[in-house]
């Protein structure tokens, strides 16, 4: 039996409009001919896409953001996998506490993390800016991966593993050939989330980005300072498109809600 409540559905529809408003506006305004973002555009044009894609600042920053996100995610895959496995299957004192510790980066304000890493690492003499930034991104994306893999593992029926063990597989073989493939959807979902979180990050990167390389969100914010032209809208639309594809991928492969551990 479902409670049919038309008023609630109507309100939900309105709220959805609110949720989509800035995103839709950005997408539509990006197609304007004028030199300021217009909604709706008086004349349609793709010129701002050409402009945005031709800026070396954006191309370099986009590349940096992508590489940074990819490396941070790749580093986190084994780390998160091992940790999630231990947390879900292990039995040891302090399990809850350790779980909270691993999720701590979600609770610590991002600006605080950025400032803390900057001050601490400068004082300690760790002056390589790129690895500082990489470490910060690994830290902030780790909880997302741990959470999604844990959710996936928790839902796993141990029957397949037990069968494998009974048939003589070593724990490692069992893990590689039985557990891992079954956890793969959760892993992929976690990896995609981690990538997006890292790519879009502003607050932590604010204090840690380098002179020679900038991340795309930081470059965009800097650009908006001096230019109010719609190339930002064009760039944003491209990013929205990329995120949408990624989200659809996760939805198809594993189902977003399950991936988020609900």
């Amino acid at each position: 039996m479902s409670t049919r409540n038309p008023l609630l559905w109507f309100v939900a529809a309105l709220v959805l409009c609110f949720v989509l408003a800035p995103i839709v506006v950005v997408i539509v305004a990006s197609f304007t001919q004028a030199s300021v973002p217009e909604f709706p555009p008086s004349q349609w044009s793709l010129r701002w896409y050409a402009h945005a894609l031709s800026q070396p600042v954006f191309r370099a920053a986009a590349w940096n953001s992508a590489v940074l996100a990819a490396i941070a995610t790749l580093i986190n895959i084994p780390i998160a996998l091992m940790a999630a496995f231990a947390l879900v299957r292990g039995r040891f004192p302090g399990r809850e506490a350790i779980q909270t510790v691993l999720l701590a980066p979600l609770i610590v304000p991002a600006v605080v993390t950025g400032i803390a890493i900057l001050l601490a690492f400068s004082a300690a003499g760790w002056r390589d800016a790129m690895s500082r930034l990489l470490l910060a991104h690994v830290v902030i994306t780790l909880p997302y991966m741990v959470r999604t893999i844990m959710a996936s593992l928790a839902r796993l029926d141990p029957v397949a593993e037990e069968a494998a063990m009974t048939l003589g597989a070593s724990p490692l073989r069992c893990f590689l050939h039985v557990t891992l493939p079954l956890v793969m959807p959760g892993l992929i979902a976690g990896a995609v989330f981690a990538f997006i979180v890292s790519f879009d990050n502003v607050s932590v990167s604010l204090f840690l980005t380098s002179a020679r390389t900038s991340t795309l969100p930081i470059a965009v914010l800097g650009y908006v300072e001096y230019n109010i032209d719609p190339s930002i809208a064009a760039l944003s639309t491209l990013l929205i498109g990329a995120s949408l594809i990624a989200a659809l991928l996760v939805e198809r492969v594993v189902g977003l809600r399950r991936a988020l551990g609900s």
């Binding site: 940096n64 390589d128 502003v202 002179a211 390389t213 930081i218 914010l221 300072e225 109010i228």
Partner: protein, 363 residues
Amino acid sequence: MIGKTLEMSMRIDHLNATRGLGRRRLMGASAAAGAAIGAPAILRAQAKTLVTTGYGGLHEKWFRTAVIEPFEKQTGAKIQFKYGAAGEWLTSSIANKEYPEIDVPMLSLPVAMRAITLEGIFLDLDPARIPNTADVDPMFFDLYRRRAVGFNYGDFGICYRSDKLAAAPGSWRDLWDPAHVGKLLLPDITAGAVLEVIVIAALVHGGSEANLEPGWAALKQLKPNVLRFFKNNTEPVGLYERAEAQIGAWFSARTYAIQDSGVPMGYVIPREGAPVGVLSFHIARNTKVRDLAYEFVNFALSKEAQESFGNGVEYGPCNVKAELKGRARERVPPANRLMRIDWPKLQPQIAAMQQRWQREIVA
């Protein structure tokens, strides 16, 4: 303003700091990761690189044309030009003083005034290494106690929509005219010139650099007139274009830029005088390219570079031998006609002034 980045340099030779095979591999991997991210930097490692800073828009365009490109051609070095705000560059210089990210930061006057009070961050400039300082108006060198040298200067006066005002303003006191309620633009700290505004308010109301109280009182009275305290020098553009603002305190070159794009703007140097805004070069004490840095600053102060930049941006050159032509010459007042602010008197108060500005005037 938003999202400004601090700048740290990428040093792949961080590897040298590690020992042991396992750690070396780990560091190697991380450096490789870092290398992938900063690939262009590796390619340029053969040529010497110098990092300097500046502002976007017209400033960047002419800085590249007048200084960066000719210098790169002449020396074969590569110059990295970073955007942001002076506050962030100083923050970076302090946080990274052992291994500076920025070799030659260019700072705005209020931030430079802070910078020269710091020990161990910047070099005391050796005039022998910058021969062109002999041609620089002493005002732009001694002002910084020779710890920095001015690159160019601009005057800060009153700009207004000439079609909205009955008569051109003549005095700084005209900003307080009740006719301008809700139509006045003043800078906020990150846009620069806030300290100058406070001093001006004091001076035209019977105070001085030593006694700013009349200025604070007058500014509090001015608040209802203010439409916005703009955080960067792009914000006012749209506001003046649409006549949402009709009068304000701003730099001459910025005003002329909007005027040239067709908006009916006027600019005056009030009879009490206009303070001068200066952009100055500082050299990081621990920079790895000290010789190149000195060369760069010297080049930027040469007659040719100064003329090229000054004529383009329509700001004043700090090199007295540089001559401006045509419209630039009309628009740029000689430095000795500008209001001199007693910076040494202000310096100890800067932190307190900024804090008070944020709390009592802007908030």
